[in-house]
């Protein structure tokens, strides 16, 4: 893979830009029968989880 491509992939993963795609892959592998959340539902759910604990520092 070219360095630019891998940088792009790192950037997407590090910012959480690809979170929904990862979730869909996981769902397809593990819970193939269940209906996955929509992009919008997933984003809302992700934010709720992320901001219910300490994740920013001084």
């Amino acid at each position: 893979m070219s360095p630019l491509r891998s940088l792009w992939r790192w950037l997407r993963a590090a910012t959480g830009d690809d979170a929904y795609e990862r979730y869909r892959t996981h769902q397809a592998q593990v819970h193939a029968h269940a209906t996955p959340l929509s992009r919008r539902e997933f984003y809302a759910e992700r934010l709720r989880r992320k901001w219910s604990g300490i994740n920013r520092c001084c």
């Binding site: 993963a13 590090a14 984003y43 901001w51 994740n55 001084c58």
Partner: protein
């Protein structure tokens, strides 16, 4: 063999760089010496000390399944590539603290702060972050509070809770004060910072309704809007009719920040907090990288002496001798207790392989410490006279410019009114005198660096970009912190009356948010009305609270190492713990007992009360004196509380270690080993 050779080369280059710093005493040195010394010390620490800890003390096992693998749910437990976890973890731990601390500590000269940033991080802060990350990874990602309860006992758990809650209140207050001081009487800065709020909301709506979850493109749009905001602020500053709206006093701005914090804690996260956090992360990583490149290109000369006369405790930026106050002031750049809250909880749930804790835990803190080194460079490359004119409060230097330059020049740091005025004009500000808090002086430093490298014409825009950059993530810390404080408060109140514990019940949300905001809002307000700038009281208080939290984390870590490994290895956390206990206790002792009103809280209260009674105070200061007296006493008692909490935890840790050393039964909550299925077993540890 190659490793040894590498080590010898690193040690030699590091020694030459440090030797260069030492030999160039009494003449200005180049910042590149500092950068070289820092990089070599980090490389040595990572390559040898961290590797030794990973292999011998933790015995990291690459074949052992991590919680991310065992409990993978595709959401919070997700096995993630180590460089991505590194990015997440660094974004979470990097805050405004390492920018402010070194800027203030620069009053002692560049050398003391730099040495502590390097030594403290390599032997203390990085080890703390890595150890807590490791023990939490072995315990399904449990939080520090839970581990304190499990491994030490209920007393340890309560102490961790008190520590976390108080540090949260103090940190928000002090950061709020930093922002207020940067915006005070500056229409450009104020309008730019205010514009970040609607921009964040716009991005929030975009991310939720238009293109859900497309974080990267939304951040890019937001970044462009933020730059536009900086430019628009410059235009507003030129319009006499509008600039008055944003030309606000400290108290007005404190009211704004307090109101903002309360509303932000109640609003749904998607609207304000989450999108602004994306923007601030984007801005933070970008600016840090840009700054590193610019410093290397510019390689400025450090004009501050290596050590100033203020090491004797007469410092005007904050009071206290170099020992222990340089350690208290640097805080997050060397070791930050707050990081242990991130290293337990969120990050361990992403670790896909135990061997990654070295890169993620130790490595992220190295980078954070490097940010502190850059802040130190930005502060000490300024003319020392200019540095002190910006960072010393009007109560000490004098409120008239002529008086201030006379006082500062008399310290041996010549500066003129003309020099300050032309600097202020270049930065697009009316004045830069007594702009305490660290943010304005850092912004001047950053603007000089960026201006030299990327074009001098934009100096004022760079200055306000730097202020906006700091303000954006300070505001993120303010509402994220208020929210966490609210959850803790709801947790406690929920024990008394069930409905209060429901995190989505609006009356409870509004009430508990108001309580948290009131707590930090009080300290912020007092800091704003304090004629000495407030920072010189609040920052040491924050430093002590933060180092106390680090001591709690290190106590938990030491107890775990003694229980699961052996007393022999306990020094890796026990040594930094002993040092922190020494510096925080000494600092607390001086803050409580010192008869010097500049240093001691109670002495200051008595001194002010005496002046008030004898009627020697000017009318303006007499009006706020009763509040300041009460606040000094409150701060004194808070310091006593910190010290008691610290020693209770240490005593509890010693009890647990003693039991373990005597072979008495002890609990360990480490999850038994399961073989990882993620990759073919490759023998050996890290």
């Amino acid at each position: 063999m190659l490793n040894r050779l590498l080590g010898i080369v690193l040690a030699a280059v590091g020694a030459i760089a440090l030797g260069g710093i030492a030999l160039h005493r009494h003449e200005p040195i180049n910042a590149l010496w500092l950068i070289t010394a820092a990089v070599c010390i980090y490389a040595l620490g990572y390559r040898f000390y961290a590797a030794w800890i990973a292999a011998r003390v933790f015995m990291l096992d690459a074949t052992r399944a991590t919680p991310a693998e065992r409990l993978n749910n595709g959401r919070d437990f997700v096995p993630t590539h180590r460089w991505i976890v590194f990015g997440h973890h660094f974004a979470a731990i990097a805050g405004p603290g390492p920018l402010v601390g070194p800027t203030l500590a620069a009053q002692f000269g560049y050398l003391p702060g730099t040495l502590w940033i390097l030594i403290g991080s390599v032997l203390g802060g990085c080890v703390q972050d890595m150890t807590i990350l490791f023990v939490s990874t072995r315990r399904d990602g449990r939080s520090l509070g839970q581990m304190a309860r499990d491994e030490l006992g209920p007393l340890g758990g309560i102490a961790a809770l008190i520590g976390t809650l108080t540090i949260m209140v103090i940190i928000i207050a002090v950061l709020g004060l930093v922002v207020v001081n940067a915006m005070k009487r500056s229409p450009w800065a104020t309008s730019t910072v205010m514009a970040t709020i609607p921009i964040a909301m716009l991005i929030g709506m975009y991310l939720r309704n238009i293109r859900p979850g497309r974080v990267l493109e939304a951040s890019l749009i937001g970044f462009a809007l933020l730059l536009l905001g900086v430019a628009a602020g410059g235009v507003i500053d030129q319009q006499e009719a509008i600039r008055g709206w944003f030309d606000l006093s400290g108290t007005e701005l404190a009211g704004f920040v307090i109101g903002y914090g309360w509303v932000a804690a109640i609003l749904p996260v998607w609207l304000l907090l989450a999108p602004r956090d994306y923007l601030s992360t984007f801005l933070k990583l970008g600016t840090v990288m840009l700054l590193a490149i610019a410093i290397v290109i510019m390689h400025p000369v450090l004009r501050m002496p290596a050590v100033t006369q203020f090491v004797d405790g007469t410092g005007p930026v904050f009071a206290g001798k170099i020992f222990p106050f340089v350690f208290i002031t640097i805080a997050c750049g060397a070791i930050s207790g707050f990081h242990s809250l991130i290293s337990s909880g969120t990050t361990p749930k992403l670790i896909s392989n135990e061997a990654d804790v070295r890169l993620v835990g130790y490595g992220s803190m190295m980078l954070e410490s490097f940010v502190a080194i850059m802040a130190m460079i930005a502060a000490t490359m300024l003319d020392p006279g200019v540095y002190f004119a910006i960072n010393v409060g009007a109560g000490i230097a004098g409120s008239a410019p002529e008086a201030a330059v006379a006082t500062i020049s008399s310290w041996g740091f010549p500066v003129t009114v003309d020099q300050m005025q032309s600097l202020a004009r270049a930065m697009g500000e009316r004045t830069l005198f007594a702009r305490t808090g660290g943010a304005p002086s850092l912004a001047v430093g950053m603007a000089s660096i960026f201006g030299t490298v990327f074009g001098r014409g934009l100096l004022a825009a760079w200055y306000h970009f730097a202020v906006m950059f700091e303000a954006v993530f300070i505001l993120t810390t303010i509402d994220a912190g208020t929210r966490v404080g609210r959850f803790m408060m709801q947790d406690v109140l929920g024990q008394l009356w069930k409905p209060m514990g429901r995190t989505s019940w609006y009356p409870s949300v509004i009430l508990t948010s108001a309580m948290v905001v009131a707590a930090w809002g009080y300290f912020l307000y007092i800091g704003v009305i304090d004629p000495n700038g407030g920072i010189n009281i609040l920052w040491p208080l924050f430093g002590m609270a933060n180092q106390m939290l680090a001591a709690i984390a290190l106590s938990v870590a030491t107890a775990i190492i003694v229980k699961t490994r052996s007393l022999r290895y306990a020094f890796i956390t026990a040594a930094p713990l002993a040092w922190l206990a020494l510096i925080t206790t000494t600092a607390a002792w001086q803050k409580v007992m010192s008869p010097d009103p500049q240093l001691g809280f109670f002495a200051a209260a008595t001194d002010l009360a005496r002046k008030l009674a004898s009627g020697t105070l000017p009318a303006g200061r007499a009006a706020v004196a009763p509040q300041l007296i009460f606040n000094q006493q409150l701060d004194g008692w808070l310091t006593v509380l910190f010290t008691v909490v610290l020693w209770v935890v240490i005593a509890d840790m010693l009890r647990v270690c003693w039991r373990s050393a005597r072979g008495l039964p002890s609990v360990s909550t480490e999850v038994p080993r399961q073989l990882s299925q993620l990759q073919p077993a490759v023998g050996g540890g890290a």
